[in-house]
Amino acid sequence: MTVRRALTLLCLAAIVVLGVASRLLELPFIDRGWAARTMARYPDRWPDYPLFLEGVRAHTEPGDTIAVIVPAMNWDGGYSYAYYRASYFLTGREVLPLVTPGNVRLQQNFRAAKYIAVFGVGLRSPADVVWRSGRGALLRLRR
């Protein structure tokens, strides 16, 4: 066997091993229940937030405008997550952000929204409670 041939064999083996090797290949042999629970929790900063959004969805109609207030009103500090996640669970409604990526408050969206979905915080503005559950409530501002 020539040196070149040996190196070629070695290189070919390295490509296959390095390309195929993955921890995913252990999946059939491990407790997938734990992994499944971890992945199910993975997207959410607040584990009860999706359930709250499902409730908001059930108590609103397609076409409604909804603004979300959460403990983190800083874009990178958690508001982006809250806003995007709400957009996903509340499709058909229009979710309005109350903060820009530059952390500028958008008061006009607060005023324009038909509903305010409040999660984990209180709201000082006068509003009627449409629905309440756990740490969250769906409010309708008094105009």
């Binding site: 064999l9 390295a14 490509i15 993955s22 999946l27 059939p28 629970r37 992945m39 199910a40 499709t91």
Partner: protein, 441 residues
């Protein structure tokens, strides 16, 4: 899960006559792999067309439209009956390893409802939004509050999710990950079949295992899986077409690249890269890519008509480029540090150096396309309006995964075939075996 599996099966069935219309002789893994990809691409076109025609998406409207396509493709396939030749891909025990890998990926992709941030903030969000109104929600895409969904991204993947949701009778992201597995399987099947034309069943099976691993995107729910499959298959078919201008391979390549351009903007970039790479050898061959351009154009027109913004192009790209150019060295070093599976890429580079020179020169097209794609990716980092560090960390591993399959395929075959007795002599003239041959042995 049943709805997703039925959807995958339906896409494959829809794609069978389309594959046969393109290549009447397709059989075995090539037929199954390309059929699923054509089905996936066709259902996107069907939903896009219905939406443009203001026909609400329902199971009935989609079934009728798909049946029309199915019948037309069957008619064309029957007329092609003259070119039928026998195809047979000899199975190998090692194929079980690829199957095992795929099972592992299926387990991973279905551990939980699709969890990736970009799924529920981009791809899944669009699909779920469109499902609400039974069509593409242009108002949603045009809204200034929704720029985070990247409204300019093409819609093949979201509309495939909508197809699953329509079959399911409503939105559920629990088993959507299976679609990503199906795209990877389709790619592996096509790669297995193409490899079998050029090497032994053992090496072809080993390469299929490798392609299955590289083709499965860890980013479940994103468009990466579809892009890797359509783009990878498209480039591999061009590679197969180049030696003797095989019309069938050109047709497959052009259609697959057209669908890749409808997966992500990188798919569009891939089409440009392929165009440049082909133009360097022969301008006249570009006309063979006409179906790819025809498939890419509708979305480009729609996104221009609806003025959907592209975040990369925000503000002054030139000033950002000029500001970062002095730091080019550091940026490139950072990319090298953040490379996913760096040892794998080093092995690929060593493989290129070890391969016989004649084989290297035959793979020029793949090397060129890969290099151009890399150049595009790096250029985007120089002009991105986002934080450079964040942009690299959040995209570089995905981007390198997108280009891994074709170059790995080429390097693997160069090395494997140089080990075969008839190719022992390095630098031998034209040692590539039977690319255009229609036997898969």
């Amino acid at each position: 899960m049943t709805a997703t599996l039925v959807a995958i099966l339906s896409l494959a069935v829809l794609g069978i006559p389309i594959t046969l219309a393109v290549d009447r002789s397709a059989r075995g893994p090539l037929l199954i792999g390309t059929a699923f990809l054509y089905g996936s691409g066709t259902v996107y076109l069907v939903l896009l067309t219905l939406s443009i025609a203001h026909i609400r998406w329902t199971l009935i409207s989609i079934t009728i439209a798909s049946l029309i396509v199915f019948c037309a493709a069957t008619f064309i396939a029957r007329r092609r009956a003259g070119d039928v030749a026998s195809h047979h891909t000899k199975p190998h025990l090692l194929d079980l390893a690829a199957l095992f890998t795929i099972v592992c990926y299926a387990l991973y992709a279905t551990l939980a409802p699709v969890w990736e941030w970009d799924f529920w903030a981009i791809w899944g969000l669009k699909a779920r939004t469109f499902l609400e109104i039974g069509g593409i929600d242009w108002r949603f895409l045009e809204s200034r509050w929704n720029t985070f969904v990247h409204p300019d991204y093409p819609l093949l993947v979201p509309l495939n999710y909508d197809f699953v949701a329509l079959l399911n009778g409503g939105w559920s992201d629990r088993w959507m990950g299976l679609l990503c597995v199906a795209w990877a399987v389709a790619l592996a099947l096509v790669a297995r079949s193409l490899a079998a034309r050029e090497t032994t069943p053992f090496f072809a099976a080993l390469l299929a295992l490798l392609v299955a691993a590289l083709g499965f995107s860890r980013y479940v729910g994103l468009a990466e899986g579809a892009l890797i499959a359509f783009g990878g298959v498209g480039v591999l078919f061009i590679r197969a077409a180049l030696p003797d201008d095989d019309d069938i391979a050109w047709r497959h390549a052009a259609l697959m690249l057209g669908f890749a351009a409808n997966c992500k903007n990188e798919g569009l970039a891939l089409l440009v890269a392929v165009t440049i790479a082909i133009a360097t050898t022969s301008w006249s061959r570009l006309r063979k890519l006409t179906p790819a351009y025809a498939l890419a154009v509708p979305w480009l027109i729609l996104r221009a008509a609806h003025t959907l913004p592209t975040d990369i192009a925000e503000g002054s790209t030139v000033s950002r480029l000029l500001a970062r150019l002095p730091y080019a060295h550091q940026i490139v070093m950072f990319l090298a540090e953040q490379l996913y599976k760096p040892w794998f890429w080093i092995a690929i580079l060593i493989g290129i150096l070890l391969a016989p020179a004649a084989a290297r020169s035959r793979e020029r097209f793949i090397f060129l396309v890969t290099a151009i794609q890399c150049l595009f990716f790096v250029t985007v980092y120089f002009i991105t309006p986002n934080g450079l560090r964040w942009h690299v960390l959040s995209s570089w591993p995905r981007l390198t995964a997108q280009i891994a399959v074709p170059i790995t395929f080429a390097v693997f075959l160069m090395l494997a075939n140089s080990l075969r007795p008839e190719e022992d002599a390095p630098h031998a003239e034209d040692t590539r075996p039977v690319v255009p041959a229609r036997s898969d042995e």
